[in-house]
Symmetry: C2
Subunit: 331 residues, 2 copies
């Protein structure tokens, strides 16, 4: 892979969570801000017994089926904290608003933030508001940073061959619902985003032997699995076990998207010990956001550093880190 | 003052730190996210023994004399932590980048962040990168959130008549340098921004009897003093004592700006006990960012809830919360 040079320009793909995003993070941010906490490359920073995480939301459209940029901005940061094994406690909200935005729209967004933060519950304790001239941003961008209390230890170092891979429900719903809402392809569908906070559901499985968690947002489970895999083990996933709605699959086929690369906003990939995996799935199934939970794969001795999918036809194919180029501003 | 209605649109002045900003915060954010920590309306949240703060930076131009959006984004959040009586420890950085931005420019900005964060020192421990299509933001926006350890107790409740008001140096330099850099008025000047982190300087006065601190950024010292003042006391400032460079004063007069309303990015307003004020100024003067420190006013029994300036000619005038309308995107 080529290095970024000073003559390069920032492409949309640098923000899509795939190969180019990681290139930018490694060659610029890690290189410059070098410190052991940042180098963990987790979804947040683990500092003593607390978790610190940040995320900016630039999704378009700002309202989509089953959510809006406000709900997403709280759910996204809550889920990052949860993925680090933390209980979400405090959130900051930084608004960048385009001049001329209807107050009514801002109010709806803020109301969504209030609703979902009360559901978690998590407190929005500090904030900031900037307004830029018309045409200098796209309606509204929101940054949320979050602080959580570490409840369980999760770490890539705890993953070993034989461990199982769980997901709490159907994939690719957020990305597809947003693409449909953009109306570029003139598709009608009833697909709604899975956008939700996962603390209410996942806190119930923290008592089991969880090795690692990560929420497969930008770049879908393909990107997340490629982030998890290391030179110490491989990952095999089983197509027939991966929960996906027929309608979502249909649109993916029609548009030529790999559902594994499509964003989720209410899903968690969980690596657990073999002994606890069934119990975790059973527990998850008790909750709306876990009712379609499945064991979808395992950690292997073989093909270290590679994510492999065993397809329904029995063929094994390599699942690469998505290289981006088609789905900007999904979150 | 009229309330915001659903028919209203967001104006640039809602982000300028003056009357409209506070209206938006009070009528929407506080009303929705209501909790005792947020209601303190400080520059950050004080939670047990730590400080949590957030700020988004949308300044234009992104490079200005003595700084750029990268340096500003770290200095701004560090100074917010310091103003809460905290030692800055950890920072998150969330980038929103416009497609097509030269990598070389991003690299310079990141390098500035690295340099100033090492100077504090503060660790950048987590981050996020989003890229939006060309024309959907203005080159780059940066959110930084910060965590600090509470070192001293500062609170409005500690302020009493008789306390003195200190500033660590000359006012209005950031705002004026940015206005000149925008080149809209075709003015040449040597004025440079005061943009800097203040931990290195202010940690040396934490041993004195400090009641309250706030950095007078957007809206200048006029906005900050109006935030500090309450129905329990008034504030009087003395024009002859307020440090300001002749060149800055000249440009303010030429353009019709009140220097009290112009942004600073390396200044702190400090309320201290009468006994310690001289010692604090003496200590501040030992450091480059404190060499022009002065006692500029006092907390009064009279005119409670009002900020009053005693001008050089001896007249007293009311200093109002700026109502904005002329200086967007200064930070």
């Amino acid at each position: 892979m080529q290095h970024i040079t000073n003559m390069d320009r920032i492409l949309l793909s640098y923000g899509e969570g795939g190969k180019n995003t990681f290139k930018l993070i490694k060659e610029l941010f890690l290189e410059s801000f070098r410190n052991p906490i940042l180098e963990e490359l987790d979804d947040g920073a683990l500092i003593d017994d607390f978790v610190f995480t940040t995320d900016s939301f630039v999704i378009t459209p700002i309202f989509f089926p089953n959510g809006d940029i406000g709900k997403l901005s709280i759910a996204g940061t809550v889920n990052d904290i949860v993925s680090m094994g933390g209980e979400p406690l405090y959130i900051s909200s930084g608004f960048i608003i385009e001049e001329g935005l209807e107050f009514d729209i801002l109010k709806k967004i803020v109301h969504s933030m209030k609703e979902i933060s009360e559901k978690v519950p998590v407190k929005i304790v500090t904030g900031d508001t900037k307004v830029v001239e018309k045409g200098k941003c796209d309606k509204i961008f929101i940054n949320t940073s979050g602080i959580g209390k570490k409840i369980i230890n999760v770490s890539k170092n705890k993953i070993f061959p034989g461990d199982l891979l769980i997901i709490n429900g159907c994939i690719a719903e957020h990305g597809i619902s947003v693409i449909v809402a953009r109306n570029e392809f003139n598709i009608k569908s009833e697909i709604i985003s899975d956008c939700n906070e996962l603390w209410s559901t996942l806190k119930n499985i923290f008592k089991y032997d969880i090795k690692f968690m990560r929420d497969p947002t930008r770049g879908g489970i393909a990107a997340t699995l490629n982030e998890i895999v290391s030179d110490k083990f491989g990952i095999e996933i089983w197509e027939e076990k991966i929960p996906i709605k027929e309608s979502v699959k249909g649109i993916c086929e029609m548009l030529g998207f790999d559902p594994l690369s499509i964003a989720n906003e209410g899903k968690m990939l969980i690596v657990s010990s073999r002994t606890d995996a069934e119990k975790i799935v059973e527990e998850l199934k008790k909750y709306p956001d876990g009712k379609d939970a499945e064991i979808i794969g395992e950690i292997t001795e073989e093909h270290r550093g590679r994510v492999v999918e065993k397809t329904i036809t029995g063929i094994k194919r390599i699942v690469d880190m998505p290289s981006g180029g088609n789905l900007p501003r999904i979150c």
